[in-house]
Symmetry: C2
Subunit: 358 residues, 2 copies
């Protein structure tokens, strides 16, 4: 039987709770498909700061690099919010992405029929939304240099960052996006601010160049301000969206909220080779941490993405996806997606129910 | 009687139609309050490109600078979309903002009871939304240097921009935002990405420093990705939002779409002194240009902002605001805000009806 090494990074807040549930689901789905996992749990984020003084210990990064895939819970919390930049949990996450070279962040946002009422959008606008944001994750203004604090030519104090993209960075994320769109509806929308920013003009130029390799995919372009509007006006117009790191940060969060159930949404971050990083898109929710209230489904679905995109174990992945749908149709709901007539359960019980459906 | 010089910049697409209506409304409201206007119409945007070869002729900028206030219709269109950067209508707009030094862009987004159904958000989420985005307009990545195209240390082609803010730029927009919040509900939310960007850390530091001058205003901070979500989840939580140029571009468009009636929304751009720039937030809508279908209310309400924020003519401004509300309650609607049971009218007729109500 096949065996994979998985690094688990529970992190902070509700992270440990949702990871513990997802681990059980992975184990069961794997065993039913003849796949075995060896898990190694490592500290990261605020937990690592408290333990070792840094948000991403070298040992954690090395373990992650040597494994076949990485499953992360969530990081951050009030406790570390005022830390200096290099001692923030978030910095650990950026270091992890950079260290694993996972430049492609896939963030699906779809509205499940059972959960359409959870959206703040009208039913007719929300139902049927099924889009994928492909966000560039290791470049742009997040990592661009020069950056920092200083003074300008008038001696005024300044803070500054650099938005910069090299051709290869755009080309590789564009290819991932075209491949993704091809497997979906064949429609790709590239989002930029090419009417103002040179970095965006260059982005658009390279995306158009790469489009020649994918004549079967229909490419459109949209300015980021318009995209932010269109996601509210008519999210169904989108299938696959590709955009830079900062616009992707903003738009993928907006898109996920449009589904009304961010406790449900997984993500995958992939590189050219090496292990992928899989995590729910929700945060560490320190206010409900340790209370068995968290929704573990986003992490369970991230585990499914890990199987599908990280290990190519499509059957085990589909087992999990179907189990989640089955559990929902049996009426089980955590508080964040609860509506009258359903059964309110906690994090652990939701996990038990998914296990029954796997 | 008082007399003011107003520069009218009709621009492109539906711009000339909505400006012509707003001019009549300004004239009438002014005359009823003992205020007179001298209008000077100047070319700008695509219209100026066709006429003079540049999107903002020197004469247009000079006329604007020497006047008491500037009212702009809309700029841009397919025809000029592929132009080089310095020959884009948008570049003319950025030059106008820079030339007039209007660093503070005020963009109200409110849901009128009559138009709550126009929002794609559920009624209970949309109704009562009344927020103001204060966007920094002449700094940040829109204007930061260095910018352009080049090669990096590996000889790779790159495109790059600089996000940079000096203390005085943040301080002055923060003061405008605190003043605005004070006149409204006393709640200000500053939006940044201080968990990642130094420019945002500096932004937050300065906003906190300026907050000391406004102890009566309640200041909170939010990351931009979260703000993009919260605008969808519960827009009513916001009163005044202050943010940088690019985040403001994105979030103010998202906020305006949440109202469902962007054909209704005005904006004001103000500097330390000198004329303000007032414009509807909608675009030039080339597809309906010249067909008498445009909604002139955003431009009429921009004229009201011109009176209030630009000239201090509060009475004439309120006359216009009330006239718009009255016209809506009498059931007149352009196509973009039409719903069954109301009276569908064109741009001109809507203007006539507002004139009756002034
Ligand atoms: C925590 C933060 C650094 C991170 C980001 O901005 O990338 C988060 O918002 C995300 O989208 O994963
Ligand atoms: C047309 C464009 C340059 C402009 C901007 O990005 O500022 C527009 O989107 C706006 O918000 O006024």
């Amino acid at each position: 039987s096949k065996s994979y090494n998985i690094t688990l990074l529970p992190g902070d807040g509700i992270g440990p709770e949702v990871i513990s549930v997802a681990k059980k689901v992975l184990n069961l789905a794997g065993s039913l498909e003849g796949v075995e996992f060896k898990f190694k749990e490592m500290p990261m984020g605020g937990a690592a700061l408290d333990l070792t003084g840094v948000p991403l210990p070298e040992e954690t990064l090395n373990t992650a690099k040597e494994s076949d895939a990485v499953l992360l819970g969530a990081i951050g919390g009030y406790k570390w919010d005022k830390n200096e930049k290099h001692l923030k949990p978030e910095t650990g996450l950026l270091q992890l992405r950079e260290g694993l070279k996972v430049f492609a962040n896939l963030r699906p946002a779809s509205v499940l029929p059972e959960l359409v009422d959870a959206s703040t959008l009208k039913k007719e606008v929300a139902e049927g939304v099924d889009l994928m944001v492909v966000r560039e994750l290791t470049g742009g203004i997040y990592f661009g240099k020069p950056r920092g604090f200083g003074t300008n030519e008038n001696g005024e104090e300044i803070g500054f960052n650099t938005e910069v993209y090299a051709a290869y960075e755009i080309d590789r994320i564009a290819r991932i996006a075209f491949e993704t769109a091809r497997k979906r509806s064949g429609k790709l929308c590239s989002v930029d601010k090419a009417n103002v920013l040179e970095a965006s003009m260059f982005w658009r130029k390279r995306v158009i160049a790469i489009a020649a390799e994918y004549p079967d995919v229909e490419l459109t372009h949209m300015y980021v301000d318009n995209a932010a509007m269109q996601l509210v006006r008519n999210p169904k117009q989108f299938d696959t969206i590709v955009t830079n790191n900062i616009f992707g940060d903003i738009l993928s969060d907006e898109a996920s909220m449009i589904t009304g159930s961010i406790g449900m949404l997984p993500s995958a971050s992939l590189g050219e080779s090496g292990p992928g990083l899989f995590e729910p898109i929700h945060g560490s929710a320190p206010d409900i941490a340790g209370q068995d209230k968290a929704n573990p489904l986003a992490t369970i679905l991230s585990a499914a993405m890990l199987l599908k995109y990280g290990l190519g174990e499509v059957k085990a992945a589909e087992r999990i996806e179907l189990a989640v749908l089955d559990t929902l149709s049996r009426g089980f709901r955590t508080g964040d997606i609860y509506s009258v007539g359903n059964k309110l359960v906690g994090c652990k019980e939701m996990g038990e129910e998914v296990l029954k459906s796997v």
